[in-house]
């Protein structure tokens, strides 16, 4: 189906996908940092709703800035059924995110994180069962992907054990169930992702509708849990000093998720999701060096953390090296043909998407409404920034600067690679 897609083009797309997976890890891992600055006294659903508001604002403004919203219209005309999947995926994300906040409250971030990151194992199962991923792959590739994912899970668990602080007790099982539930929801969320990208949809269009599903589900959940709109509004007003930080968390998360979407598109979910789960390593760096977690711990504890990190990194490298061969790529194309036939999508549109190119029908360029969206989003952040209170938390500023510089370098480097290879298609 991809016709004359030469080995060099295949290699470039794979490289762009792998780089996107690693960049996603850095940004998704940092998304927890701003939420640490917010008051822990806030109700979990209010924290989750505020993050979703940040995600909503970012998910409309970033695509408008990068590509313009005109391209979204083209995608909807070509594959209108995908809007249903985008809304469904947004609902899954919102419920999973709320569950993680309950999990953190009951068992702590360090135990909860590897539990919900087991989502990559489920992502691999869905990739194989529903989308022909790893079909026809050599034994070495199966070994690299499955072994790499297992190593990452083991490394993540070791990190959790090493960095465990006293849990609140009493509700440990509830916390574990919430974390595992979040993992199942997030692992299943990759079904709509992969479906959209096999059809040829641009990730920047998919996230636009995804955010609507997220906001609607989260508002409904928050209203049900907080006892109506009036109570919810009062909670948000009371939380105004923390809203800026929570919205920042949502914004950082969106940048990471956009890279994750490109990884899912170009290397599939069985490889892309484990790569973006390196977010746990980045989360650990923030925790250790910026927020001073584990300070005063013995050498043994640090050795466990370094050992767990190395195992996790080895798993990620194994997965990144397992490039899909020609037989597997043919199986991907068969899965794309299923979508094309079932939903009567223009073959040229599907083909262009798989090749990382814009469809001939694509509308390009930005319109005044795009600048209006970007301006409004900026105004929301500036307004909430003026209301924000600087939290009384001691930060490691040298590490903070270094991590932010590394994230920006990954943003610019991977962004350039994606632009050069796919023009953000």
């Amino acid at each position: 189906m991809t016709g004359a897609l030469g080995p060099e083009r295949v290699r470039r797309l794979y490289l762009a996908g792998v780089a996107s997976g690693f960049a996603a890890g850095a940004w998704l891992g940092a998304a927890e940092a701003p939420t640490k600055l917010a008051s822990l006294a806030l109700p979990p659903v209010v924290v989750s709703l505020a993050m979703v508001l940040g995600v909503f604002v970012a998910r409309w403004s970033v695509p408008a800035l990068v590509r313009g919203t005109a391209g979204v219209g083209t995608d909807v005309r070509e594959a209108p059924h995908l809007v249903v999947w985008a809304l469904l995926a947004g609902g899954l994300w919102a419920v999973a995110n709320t569950l993680t906040i309950f999990a953190i409250r009951d068992i702590g971030l360090s135990i909860a994180f590897p539990l919900w990151n087991a989502n990559s194992l489920l992502g691999i199962v869905w990739g194989i069962v529903l989308f022909n991923e790893l079909r026809g792959a050599r034994r070495a590739q199966w070994f690299a992907v499955l072994g790499g994912a297992a190593l990452m899970f083991l490394g993540g668990t070791a990190l959790a054990v090493a960095s465990t602080r006293a849990t609140t007790g009493g509700h440990a099982w509830r916390g574990v169930t919430a974390a595992l539930g979040a993992g199942v929801l997030w692992g299943t969320m990759y079904i709509p992702y992969r479906k959209a990208y096999l059809t040829g949809m641009n990730p920047l269009s998919f996230v636009t509708f995804f955010s609507v599903g997220e906001l609607v589900t989260m508002t409904a959940v928050a209203m049900a849990q907080e006892g109506g709109l009036a109570t919810l509004a009062r909670d948000l007003v009371e939380a105004r000093a923390a809203l800026f930080w929570l919205l920042c968390g949502g914004f950082v998360w969106v940048v990471g998720d956009l890279f994750q979407q490109y990884a899912a598109k170009y290397v599939g979910i069985s490889r892309g999701i484990p790569l973006s789960n390196t977010n746990q390593l980045w989360g650990l760096l923030w925790g250790l060096f910026v927020f001073g977690e584990l300070r005063g711990s013995g050498v043994e504890r640090y050795a466990e953390v370094i050992g767990g990190s190395l195992v996790m990194a080895a798993g990620a490298v194994a997965i990144a090296s397992a490039a899909a061969g020609a037989t597997e790529r043919s199986a991907w194309e068969a899965a794309a043909r299923r979508e094309q036939t079932r939903y009567h999508v223009d073959p040229a549109y599907v083909r262009a998407g798989l090749r990382g190119e814009a469809a001939a029908s694509a509308t390009r360029g930005r319109r005044p409404v795009d600048w209006l969206i970007v301006g409004s989003a900026s105004a929301v952040f500036v307004g909430l920034g003026l209301l924000a209170r600087r939290p009384a938390v001691a930060l490691g500023w040298t590490a903070f600067t270094g991590l932010v510089a590394a994230m920006l370098a990954l943003l610019v480097g991977t962004g350039y690679l994606l632009w050069r290879t796919t023009r953000f298609n």
Binding site: P80, G181, T188
Partner: protein, 35 residues
């Protein structure tokens, strides 16, 4: 959203629609139990 009846039929007869929907409903029940 403007889906035609045939498009809706294609969505509703696709197993890849019911798997995430089922998981979403289960997640909402879990959230209700946890709070």
């Amino acid at each position: 959203m403007g889906l035609k009846r045939t498009e809706w039929r294609a969505v509703l007869t696709d197993v890849q629609f019911w798997v995430p929907l089922g998981v979403l409903l289960a997640g909402l029940l879990l959230l209700r139990w946890i709070r």
